[in-house]
Every structure is written in structure tokens, then in C-alpha cells.
């Protein structure tokens, strides 16, 4: 709380420090004894729930992944895509696989008439071109063929050089990652217990470490081999960002093995059975592998081994924050009630009575802020908890997937929704104190919190403007509801319109909290200085 300087001499400052609970009790009694305010608060709760449920009341999805009950989860509990073409054998215990990657190429569908920068149109709308930036081919060691199982891989990518990746969320750039890909490129993955180390070389004799992974509890018997996969091609067009099917093809030399490998032949498996939410095969391609004349293999695959992110690549599913879309509606009601909590006293001349009962004006405003903020906070928290429970149950029943979050994240979203409402309520109270008129104060608060939020997230503004709004206006506070992850190694549309805020959850809330604190401080100063 801002301790504002006061124009009053110290002699009129109180010695008493224990009176705040009385003032708080009085303000709480004031609030609960006006039926309209209590009903409005209940209405805020209801409207948050109803708008949230209506906003996620889409009919059963027909798109890809509609049949899946849930996203596969990685070892960290996050939703993952685990779709790639895997040429594998069983490795028991420690071992090494070394192979030359002779080329990484790709094929992508492009919309007819799309102005693509490379390739030659074939008239069918398909363009053969270089691999997608995050197309991958290389060596992978994976605990099993089930989606989401632990893995480590060293790979070449279409546009980001050699990488060492493991357990979906970890991505390390290897040496020369900035340089143009040179082929053939030698790759090596060494397994030693739960420790995996990737190497790369351009000549087969000088090896450079690409990265290291520790996979605690990795099973002794694992599947290991070659893989190729490609996420969809992201295309920026005049009308927006589109994604279209793409595949990657890795041409490998003869794999060299050390350690205890199964004696069976290499087997090919499309892990996950399809290309997941962020990848898809083109009409004429499918995952496959073929031996080459030199004892090597050509592996073609689509999909991605990466966390699920928001935007078009998320597929048919909901995020936790989708259910809380009604928060803005509840917020309008709570802000209005909080404003009237003080402007009503101005209007009816009651503030004089209040100040007569409690001459410490800062204390009165503090008690009011605690009451209004506390009520808003509890309302937001309960609304979030109910909406999440109802919404998740309802959408799962209709065949939607819900992007899983940790219970800590879910708790943060619910508590954050409460704090979001609380900060908005305190801001509304402070603005009401400064302006003294309900109408203008409520309008200002809604225009500063809800309007930027709606403009920014609806996609009607350019992304840059939306992000700016969500940085500098009180609407930044809505970031606290965001659960969508963002990863550099996954291409998507990371914009407010797809649920991505420019600020981290607590940072965004801090912006709103800052506005509330400054407004509250000004309100205390003004209230102390002014005759009432």
C-alpha cells in the first residue's frame, strides 16, 4: 500500500494502531447490508461461469485428433506430440549408434496461388522444396513406442542445424548450428546408463559434442534407431498464417552399432499412428523407410516430437484459460460494484458519516479496498473453480481434449483469477474515489481493463498493437490466466489472438496491480487533502 504524504500536521495523526479491524468490520457490514451489491456479486459469479461455458460450448470436434480422449503426456506431464517415423531395433544396456545423414529434404503442400518463396509449382498445388525449418532427421533412443515415453535424440534440422533434444521440452543447439547444413553429416548417440550424449562430425573422425541428456530411470531395454519427421509448413500470407501438410525425408548411410542390439532386422513404425496435431502427411505421402544401395536407409516421416503449443497447431482441444473467457464479464460487474462502494457514499453524502466514524481517511479507503478486493477475489476464485470443473467435464464428454497443466499451474490460474478480480476491484474503487462519479469511473475502468483485453484477444488489431495493449494497459493482468506454453523449437502463431500474452503470468498481473496501487495511493492522497 502506498503511504502517501499528507498535508496534515503530525499532531492530527493518530497514535492508535489497533482500530483497523473495527473499520474493516464496519465496511464489511456496509457491503453485505446492501442487497443490490450482494446480488450483483452473485451475478458476477454467475456470468463468469455462464459466459465461460457458452464460450466453450462448441459442438463435438470433427477435425484431427477428435477421436483422442487426451493429449499424450511427456515425462514432465505436459501435452506432447510424439509422431515420427521410427526405424528401430532393441538396445539392451549401453551402446552407440553412428550414422551419416546424407541429406534432409522435404515436401510440403501449399495452397494454390500462395506466393511461396521457393520451389516450382507443379500445378497440383504441391511444391517440392527444402525441409521445414524444424523438420528433423537423426538418431533417437526412446524407452518404448508409446507416445510420451522418455527419449533423447541427436538430429539435423531443416533450418536450425544440429540439435540435441530430449524429453520433448529440452532443445540444445549443437555446433555449427548457425552454419549452412553440410552433408553428409555424421551423427552419433551414445547411451551409458541413463546418460545420453550426442555428437556430430563433418568428417567422421573429429567429433564434437552436440549435447547431453540425463533420463533418470530410463529402462535398460530401449528402442533405438533412425527417425525422420516434419511439422506442418507455416506460411504467412496476406490474409494470415496458414499451415499445410509437410513431410521430411532423411537419407542415412549404413548405421554403425556398438553394444547389445537385437539381432532382428530394422523395423519401421509410425509412432502415434498419425502425424499428431502439428504435423500431417500430404495427400500422396506416408511414413516409410527404404534401404539404399549402400546399406543405408531413406526415412520419410511427418509429425513432431515436441510439446503441444497453442494456435492452429494445437488441434481440436481446449486450454484451461478457454474456460475462463467469461472472467471479463464478471470483472465488469465486480468493477461496477467496487466503484459504487465509494461513489455511492459521495452521492448520498454518506462519506461524511463514514469519516466522522473513522477520521483516518486512509484507513477507511484501505478497509474498503480490502473488502471490495477480498470479495472480488473470492468471487473470481470460486467462479474459476466452478467453471473449470464444469467446463472440463462438459467438453471432455463431447470428445474434446484439454491441454493438461500441472496442479500448480491450475492453482495459479484460479488464484490468479481471484487476484485479477481483486486488483480490478481496487482499481475501480480508487478511480471511483478520484472521480467521485459512478458513471465516468465505471466507464474508465472498463475501458482500461476489459476493452483492451477484448480488442487484443479478438484478433481485430494487428498483433503488434495487441501485444502493446497487453503490456501497458491494465488488461495485462489477464496474462495470469495463461497456461499455453511457448517453445522456440515449435512454430506456431504466438499472438494474443491465439492466447499468447506478451508478459509472463505474474508480470502481467503485476502491471494491473501496479495500476491499482498507484490509483489507490492517489486516491488516499486526494481523500486526505480534500474536504468531504
Amino acid at each position: 500500500m502506498t503511504t502517501a504524504p499528507t498535508s496534515r500536521p503530525p499532531a492530527t495523526r493518530p497514535a492508535e494502531r489497533d482500530g483497523f479491524p473495527r473499520t474493516l468490520h464496519a465496511e464489511w457490514t456496509k457491503f453485505r447490508t446492501v442487497r443490490g451489491w450482494v446480488l450483483a456479486t452473485a451475478g458476477a459469479l454467475l456470468v463468469t461461469i455462464v459466459v465461460g461455458l457458452l464460450g466453450t460450448a462448441a459442438p463435438a470436434p470433427g477435425g484431427r485428433g477428435a477421436h483422442s480422449a487426451a493429449y499424450p503426456k511427456g515425462p514432465g506431464g505436459e501435452a506432447v506430440n510424439d509422431s515420427f517415423y521410427f526405424v528401430h531395433r532393441t538396445l539392451t544396456g549401453d551402446g552407440t549408434l553412428t550414422v551419416a545423414l546424407q541429406s534432409l529434404t522435404g515436401t510440403a503442400d501449399t495452397d494454390t496461388g500462395t506466393d511461396t518463396d521457393t520451389g516450382t509449382g507443379t500445378g497440383t498445388g504441391r511444391t517440392a522444396r527444402s525441409a521445414q525449418p524444424w523438420a528433423k532427421a537423426g538418431i533417437i533412443v526412446k524407452e518404448g513406442l508409446t507416445q510420451g515415453s522418455p527419449y533423447a535424440a541427436v538430429m539435423a534440422t531443416g533450418g536450425h542445424g544440429v540439435r540435441m533434444q530430449y524429453n520433448y521440452t529440452h532443445d540444445t543447439a549443437g555446433p555449427l548450428s548457425k552454419a549452412a547444413p553440410e552433408y553428409p553429416r555424421q551423427l552419433r548417440l551414445v547411451r551409458s546408463g541413463d546418460s545420453l550424449t550426442g555428437y556430430t562430425s563433418t568428417d567422421g573422425s573429429h567429433w564434437t559434442k552436440a549435447g547431453h541428456a540425463k533420463l533418470p530411470g530410463l529402462a535398460r531395454t530401449v528402442q533405438a534407431g533412425l527417425f525422420a519427421t516434419s511439422p506442418e509448413a507455416k506460411q504467412n500470407t496476406a490474409t494470415g498464417t496458414g499451415f499445410s501438410p509437410a513431410v521430411a525425408t532423411g537419407t542415412f548411410g549404413r548405421p554403425a552399432l556398438t553394444g547389445n542390439w537385437s539381432q532382428s532386422a530394422w523395423r519401421g513404425t509410425q509412432v502415434s499412428g498419425d502425424a499428431g496435431t502439428s504435423g500431417s502427411y500430404t495427400n500422396t505421402t506416408k511414413g516409410d523407410f527404404t534401404p539404399t544401395s549402400g546399406g543405408g536407409y531413406t526415412v520419410t516421416g511427418a509429425g513432431d516430437i515436441a510439446p503441444v503449443v497453442g494456435g492452429p497447431v494445437m488441434g481440436a482441444g481446449f486450454t484451461v484459460e478457454n474456460f475462463l473467457v467469461g472472467t471479463f464479464a464478471g470483472l465488469i460487474v465486480l468493477a461496477a460494484v467496487s466503484t459504487v462502494f465509494i461513489t455511492g457514499e459521495y452521492r448520498h453524502g454518506l462519506l461524511r458519516t463514514t469519516m466522522t466514524a473513522t477520521p483516518l481517511r486512509g484507513r477507511v479507503l484501505g478497509a474498503k479496498a480490502l473488502v471490495a478486493g477480498g470479495i472480488a477475489s473470492v468471487t473470481g476464485l470460486i467462479a474459476a473453480a466452478i467453471t473449470l470443473a464444469l467446463g472440463e467435464h462438459s467438453t471432455r464428454g463431447r470428445g474434446f481434449r484439454i491441454l493438461p497443466v500441472t496442479s500448480a499451474t491450475e492453482a495459479r490460474v484460479m488464484a490468479g483469477t481471484g487476484l485479477l478480480c481483486a486488483a480490478a476491484a481496487v482499481l475501480a474503487l480508487a478511480v471511483g474515489t478520484l472521480l467521485r462519479r459512478s458513471g465516468t469511473a465505471i466507464t474508465l475502468v472498463i475501458a482500461s481493463i476489459v476493452l483492451p483485453f477484448l480488442l487484443a484477444t479478438s484478433g481485430v488489431l494487428p498483433p503488434g498493437v495487441s501485444q502493446w495493449l497487453l503490456r501497458v494497459t491494465p488488461a495485462a493482468g489477464f496474462a495470469v490466466q495463461q497456461t499455453l506454453p511457448q517453445y522456440a523449437q515449435v512454430l506456431s502463431v504466438y499472438e494474443p489472438s491465439t492466447g499468447y500474452y506478451p508478459l509472463a503470468p505474474w508480470a502481467g498481473l503485476a502491471v494491473l496491480g501496479g495500476y491499482a496501487a498507484i490509483a489507490f495511493g492517489l486516491a488516499v492522497v486526494r481523500l486526505r487533502r480534500r474536504d468531504v
Binding site: 473495527r22 468490520h25 464496519a26 455511492g344 448520498h348 461524511r352 469519516m355 466514524a357 468531504v532
Partner: protein, 315 residues
């Protein structure tokens, strides 16, 4: 019930305050003492409400100070236990019941809900206490305001225009209540712009105009001074009588076709003088001023300037 006399006082010392260029309080100084009802009178705009707001710490004065029981109001821990005030009976949240209005006030002072029921009874609110205050008549609001003022059982009670909106029964009740509060040893300050309302109520009067105290006196003294030895003469020859009386140094004012009001000459001497000079007269009487007249006399100067916008923020 008795209250320490030091606690039961309001001291207003040299208050000055301006609203724009217009002085609202211009050296206001007076003391409200325990055990009596002090009437606080003056024309609208004289500074009554402003003075009361300064006493309550709602407005700040540029100079001077106001003390309640010897200390500034703002330093009081539970102020309603020291001073009960009724400033504006309409200052209510309309949708809150009277009882709930008193309840939050009680909570702010750490008083139990039982005390609320006591003052509801004392103010004669009865069953209306459970109704929304927005539907109250002005008289009921005044009673609610009185209940709020008495909530903390304060040694000092300060009421701004408490007779406003009261029906005749209510006025009688209010007078009885004020007298009772004074009898209990409390200091009671009651403002009014109508002296007649205070005629049978106040023991002491502070008359103000233009933000200053014009008179700070007991009611009986004020009446005596206001009468000022004036004599009313009824005569069929007013011009002749005036001439004779002027000769004796008296001042006369024609207050009717056959009536003169004489100042500066006692009634006995007037009779002797007129008789000596053979002026006919039918009646000589000593003028008995009413409180209202005394007040009008005192405030005549201040009322003359009523054309200037009244500085006091009246409701």
C-alpha cells in the same frame, strides 16, 4: 449519568476558512459547555454547518482549531463515543435498512449490536428500523440521525438543524430529548436558522453572522439586551410627541400610524415628559422583545448582505 466536564466540551478557537474569495469562517470562537443546550443560530450561509464540519475534522480550517473534550476530533480513537453528530439526516444509503445503518456505525466503534437496538428504541424508530432508509420521511430520517448520534453514548452531542422535517409531535419529542441530554450533563450544540425553534429549548445562544460570533450569551441576557429599554407609545399626535422626546435626547421610530418606539428614555420619564408638555397618549408600555426579534436585531447587518452568494455549502 454524569460526564466529566472536561470531556463534555467543544472549544472553537479562531477558526478561519475561505471558500474562494469569500470568508466562510472569520475568526469563529466559542465554547460549548456541559449541562446545557447551546443554540447555534445565524442566517443561512453564516457558517454554522462549516463550523460543525471543521469540528468533526471533515473540513480543514486555514487558521484556528476546534477541540472536542480538549483534543482534535481526528485524534479520537472511537470518536462516536466522544461526540455524536447529526449533520445531514438524508446522508443514507437508501437501500440499507435503518438498523443496518446503525449496525455498521456500531461496528466502526467496537460497539455491540445490543447498543443499536437501544438507540432504535430511544429514537422512537421502532419497527421502522428494519425498513430500507430510502423510504423514510424526513422526520424519520431525523430520528435515525439522532439514533446514530446517541449510539456511542457521547458526552457531547452536536445536531445541525434537528427540527427540520419534524411534525409537531416530533418537535415536542426533540425538545424533551435535548433537555434530557443536557440534564444528564452532556454538552449539546444545536444549530438552527430559526430562532423560534430554539426559544424554549436553548439555555445558551451563540449567534453568528458572516463567519463570526455576534453574540455568545444566555437566553435571558439576550432578551434583556434586545429589549434595550425600548418603550412603545400609542398617541394621537405622534409628530408632536416625537418632537418633545427628541428634545429630551430620545430616539423615536414610527412603527405605526399612531405608534412610536422610543429608545433612550425610560417609560416613567417618558410619561412625565409627555404629561408636562401636554401631549396626548393612550398607552405607554415597555417593549418586551421576543427571542426572534432579538435575533433579527442582531443579524440585521449580516442579512443585508444576503445578495452576495452564501458561502456556506448548504444542502
Amino acid at each position: 449519568m454524569s460526564h466529566e466536564s472536561t470531556k463534555a466540551t467543544i472549544e472553537v478557537i479562531g477558526l478561519r476558512k475561505r471558500f474562494g474569495p469569500q470568508p466562510a469562517l472569520d475568526g469563529m470562537t466559542f465554547t460549548v459547555r456541559p449541562g446545557r443546550v447551546t443554540g447555534f443560530v445565524g442566517p443561512n450561509g453564516a457558517g454554522k454547518s462549516t463550523t460543525m464540519r471543521v469540528i468533526l475534522g471533515l473540513d480543514t480550517a486555514e487558521e484556528g482549531k476546534a477541540l472536542v473534550g480538549g483534543v482534535p476530533y481526528r485524534t479520537l480513537r472511537r470518536p462516536l463515543r466522544h461526540l455524536g453528530a447529526l449533520l445531514d439526516a438524508s446522508a443514507l444509503q437508501p437501500s440499507r435498512t435503518a438498523r443496518h445503518h446503525l449496525l455498521w456505525l456500531a461496528h466502526s466503534q467496537g460497539l455491540p449490536a445490543r447498543r443499536v437496538d437501544e438507540v432504535i428504541e430511544q429514537a422512537g424508530l421502532g419497527t421502522a428500523a428494519r425498513r430500507r432508509a430510502g423510504g423514510f420521511s424526513l422526520g424519520m430520517r431525523q430520528r435515525l440521525g439522532i439514533a446514530a448520534a446517541l449510539l456511542g453514548d457521547p458526552p457531547v452531542v452536536m445536531l445541525d438543524e434537528p427540527f427540520n422535517g419534524l411534525d409537531p409531535d416530533g418537535i415536542v419529542w426533540m425538545r424533551g430529548l435535548l433537555a434530557e441530554l443536557a440534564r444528564q450533563g452532556r454538552a449539546v450544540l444545536v444549530s438552527s436558522h430559526l430562532m423560534s425553534e430554539l426559544e424554549d429549548t436553548a439555555d445558551h445562544l451563540v449567534v453568528i453572522g458572516h463567519g463570526r460570533v455576534i453574540a455568545d450569551t444566555s437566553v435571558s441576557q439576550l432578551l434583556a439586551e434586545a429589549s434595550g429599554g425600548r418603550v412603545t407609545l400609542r398617541t394621537s399626535a405622534p409628530a408632536r410627541a416625537a418632537q418633545v422626546l427628541h428634545g429630551a435626547g430620545a430616539i423615536t421610530v414610527a412603527t405605526g400610524p399612531d405608534t412610536l418606539t422610543i429608545t433612550g428614555l425610560p417609560d416613567a420619564e417618558t410619561v412625565a415628559l409627555l404629561a408636562r408638555n401636554g401631549v396626548p397618549f393612550s398607552q405607554v408600555s415597555t417593549h418586551r422583545a421576543t427571542l426572534e426579534e432579538a435575533y433579527l436585531e442582531l443579524t440585521r447587518d449580516t442579512v443585508q448582505y444576503r445578495g452576495i452568494p452564501a458561502p456556506e455549502a448548504t444542502r
